[in-house]
Symmetry: D4
Subunit: 159 residues, 8 copies
Amino acid sequence: MAKFKLDDIDHQILDMLIDNTRVPFTDIAKKLVISAGTVHVRVKKMEEAGIIQGSSLTLDYKKLGYSFIAYVGIFLQNTSQTKFVLERINEIPFVTVAHITTGKFNIFCKIRARNTDHAKDVIFKLDDIDGVYRTETMISLEESINDKKRLMHTIFNDM
Amino acid sequence: MAKFKLDDIDHQILDMLIDNTRVPFTDIAKKLVISAGTVHVRVKKMEEAGIIQGSSLTLDYKKLGYSFIAYVGIFLQNTSQTKFVLERINEIPFVTVAHITTGKFNIFCKIRARNTDHAKDVIFKLDDIDGVYRTETMISLEESINDKKRLMHTIFNDM
Amino acid sequence: MAKFKLDDIDHQILDMLIDNTRVPFTDIAKKLVISAGTVHVRVKKMEEAGIIQGSSLTLDYKKLGYSFIAYVGIFLQNTSQTKFVLERINEIPFVTVAHITTGKFNIFCKIRARNTDHAKDVIFKLDDIDGVYRTETMISLEESINDKKRLMHTIFNDM
Amino acid sequence: MAKFKLDDIDHQILDMLIDNTRVPFTDIAKKLVISAGTVHVRVKKMEEAGIIQGSSLTLDYKKLGYSFIAYVGIFLQNTSQTKFVLERINEIPFVTVAHITTGKFNIFCKIRARNTDHAKDVIFKLDDIDGVYRTETMISLEESINDKKRLMHTIFNDM
Amino acid sequence: MAKFKLDDIDHQILDMLIDNTRVPFTDIAKKLVISAGTVHVRVKKMEEAGIIQGSSLTLDYKKLGYSFIAYVGIFLQNTSQTKFVLERINEIPFVTVAHITTGKFNIFCKIRARNTDHAKDVIFKLDDIDGVYRTETMISLEESINDKKRLMHTIFNDM
Amino acid sequence: MAKFKLDDIDHQILDMLIDNTRVPFTDIAKKLVISAGTVHVRVKKMEEAGIIQGSSLTLDYKKLGYSFIAYVGIFLQNTSQTKFVLERINEIPFVTVAHITTGKFNIFCKIRARNTDHAKDVIFKLDDIDGVYRTETMISLEESINDKKRLMHTIFNDM
Amino acid sequence: MAKFKLDDIDHQILDMLIDNTRVPFTDIAKKLVISAGTVHVRVKKMEEAGIIQGSSLTLDYKKLGYSFIAYVGIFLQNTSQTKFVLERINEIPFVTVAHITTGKFNIFCKIRARNTDHAKDVIFKLDDIDGVYRTETMISLEESINDKKRLMHTIFNDM
Amino acid sequence: MAKFKLDDIDHQILDMLIDNTRVPFTDIAKKLVISAGTVHVRVKKMEEAGIIQGSSLTLDYKKLGYSFIAYVGIFLQNTSQTKFVLERINEIPFVTVAHITTGKFNIFCKIRARNTDHAKDVIFKLDDIDGVYRTETMISLEESINDKKRLMHTIFNDM
């Protein structure tokens, strides 16, 4: 749980990569007045330390025909089944996020689907996993914010 | 709402970028036996069409000292305040996702914080926005799945 | 609250009209071995008694682009506003049914909309009516049964 | 999911039929200054396309002794039983509407009964279907709106 | 369901008995200027018609050491067990009222107990009946109104 | 809160009165082999001590046209209004029982009404009392037990 | 249930011990102008009567690395298992308080854990006890009051 | 948040004080084969570091006439009032614990009272604090576990 120590240069490198993961290292080097090799070494070090786990594209799911988002709360028959159920959930690609939670639900998921009919199929797949007792669905009418960049900038400015 | 038409080459390009947004276009070109210029043109076209909206780093928030995740459901005094409240929420960087939802809540958020104390501060900030009537919080004990890549691959294989 | 007395002939006429409101009275007359005039007189009488209130087409809303169905529960600030709020609801054509109910909600509505975005607009219109305190929405994934004919036949066979 | 194309004449024909399904085609023809044959052909075409699915009488259920309306939410033991349970529900004529829903309930029904005692019988019949885990009932104190005509007119004026 | 016809004299007799079931018939007779025999005959007739089912003492349960009142909602495993469970409930004298209800609970009871410990015993007895799935208890802090006389007077004045 | 001391004779007198409040004191005296004067003195003493508060008729409300029973939970805006609201409730004769409760509701009532329409009127009257914030209604489908005599006998046998 | 009679001297002794259980009896004796032997005898008597059950340290759990507090509501499959389940709960030292409760839950616990991960382990242990049907957790963001001394002083001043 | 370092001797001292805060330091010294002065110095150090915050008596509240325990959940009008409301709560000695919580309630309290009537007074006092919107009460039928000693021993054995 001990924090990896990032220095100011690391923060500035991350700050640039957050806005565009494809920015050439030479551009970062020029901006920070260091060598491209240094950028390369430090990014590598942050990858090896597991701080940078990878990168992903931000796609417009609506344009790709996946405009339906829902949150599904799952009640298990017994929490000893949590690990098994999560493995089954992991086989359903339309579930993009899953948490073990406190409160009402045992597991809480986010799903993306093409439309109401498709969402019904995905929800029924979740319902049919062994050990799942019941599900409750909350439908998104609009994804108003989905942006981790503000958080990342705050983290690196705070540190 | 008409879908942009992506052909098979587009899908294969996206399929490679999903796994590593920093993969050089020359590598993509070699793999697909097309020219790097073609890759460049097609990525550009997908960016202009808004299908590719950008890219983001996947960081290990635990290692950065942000191990606390919660979902916060917000009840508004009146839905006519939805837009105003969302703008205020957008000023809190620790809220990474916000949806307008059906069911119990008017707005449903995901927050990341350093710890219980910090989470209390973030929740109180949400509570104190004008027009927010009440909030209800569900705490994540473990983020078991957070992976859009499986969905992206499925989308491009399905199309 | 005293029941209008329908005799067996009335029941048989209703039984035929239920299945097809456009069936010619001469066909009914032939089937029941009575005169077309008798059919006409009896239908008229049932209309005047208010038993037959009219007729309606059964359309396929999906084919007309209205595939989204939701139930919306409305909490009022005060039940003295019930009549006023129902008049405002009546001005929204996408609300096809509204009940004053016991239990959690004061008013319970059924809405039909084109899609999620349109549903959001309709729900926000309901939320913005003066006197409406809060709404809660439950979305239909499939309208599996919508058929009053079985009930009507049962009523006329029971009587 | 592609919409059947209706032209302006179709809309005007539907608009007249909505208000009275028994209006003679000659009346429609006269009003729209077209031939009765044209009306006939177009109605037939809309029936064959499945847009017009039929017609039904609007009866006054109170006058027929059926003044009790309730909504019944059904929890299933497992959603794999949904289809089976819906078939059993379909055998109970007092259930006039049934939806597969998101949120708290798996299936949501509307029932009409003669009175409290009769409603109890219908609810117990639902409860006793194999696979039904529990039901929750919300009673209507007044059916204030039940009118699809406003929606239909809006659809045909919008198109 | 047809109402037994009570005339004005019956109402006045009932009106006097409501306030004191032990009032001598001769007093009633004097007050209404009829014979004591008439009072006797009419009370007898109302008893035979089942309108008067009996009489009961109003005791001060607090003074008798029974100051604890609670409402217990019962969830059944299946409503087919309703009759059986009610028979078991009927064997517990501390349950003074039980209803089959709509909404959340299948059966809803009122219990009187000596204190918290005794209430726990009674609730556990209910919980342990075969077919009872779960119970939920709401405790009375004060019985502010328990008075059917106002209702009775209203009924007889309305008729 | 100290219990009034009842001896065995008192118990036996109460035991007889519970089953029939109109039983003549001479009958009680004969049965218990004491003088009628003793019965009279002891009943008087129990009345003066407030143990016997009165007597009431048990009527068949269904036969009197009052077949509708509901429980209404009341949420207040502030509990400082409890006393005021209870006084207003006390003016509505159709409310036969009212408790200050723990849990979800502030006040919990039992109402008797003629039918659904009448119940709506009573509920709306409760809703319109100043200080009442919201109500929730649970309808009785059948009053299966309403009998304090079993409790009374148990109390007197236990003592 | 009869209260043990404490006199004024007892109250003053308790009043001093409440603030510091380690205060020497000679100090108490001096303050109350009685002999140390009297203090000793009276404390002994209160211990034997079970009024003083012992003493405990007040530690700062945060400083000891236990900063996570949660309340866990437990639903049992059947209340006949209450005793058995409480014995299993008693084997988990991180559960510091457990009550049999009315309302939603059968058993209600307070737990202290090191952090979110540890809390998850404790909750899963509770979930896995035979007879536990489901749990619901509410997390403390801050323990603002935990002080029985004010109550104790009030009790001894009231008596 | 850095943990104070306790060594094995500290743990053994705490372990003995936990079971009896009044154990003489000479007894501890003898048992651990160290000098009484060392015990004194180390206890002093732990008090100064704030690890030992004090000591408290464990009394039998039932014997003192306080047998009623309840948990009260408080909803605030706005969380900006949290601090003010907690100060008001702190003036009510019958509230022994109060937490700021996630989930349904803003503040969650434990109260001890003499009986139902007294509990009603305490709850009404909470309800009447400015800024308190509503409360919900859950009553304890039995305090089955209230023991921090098992936790303390575990902590000191774990470290």
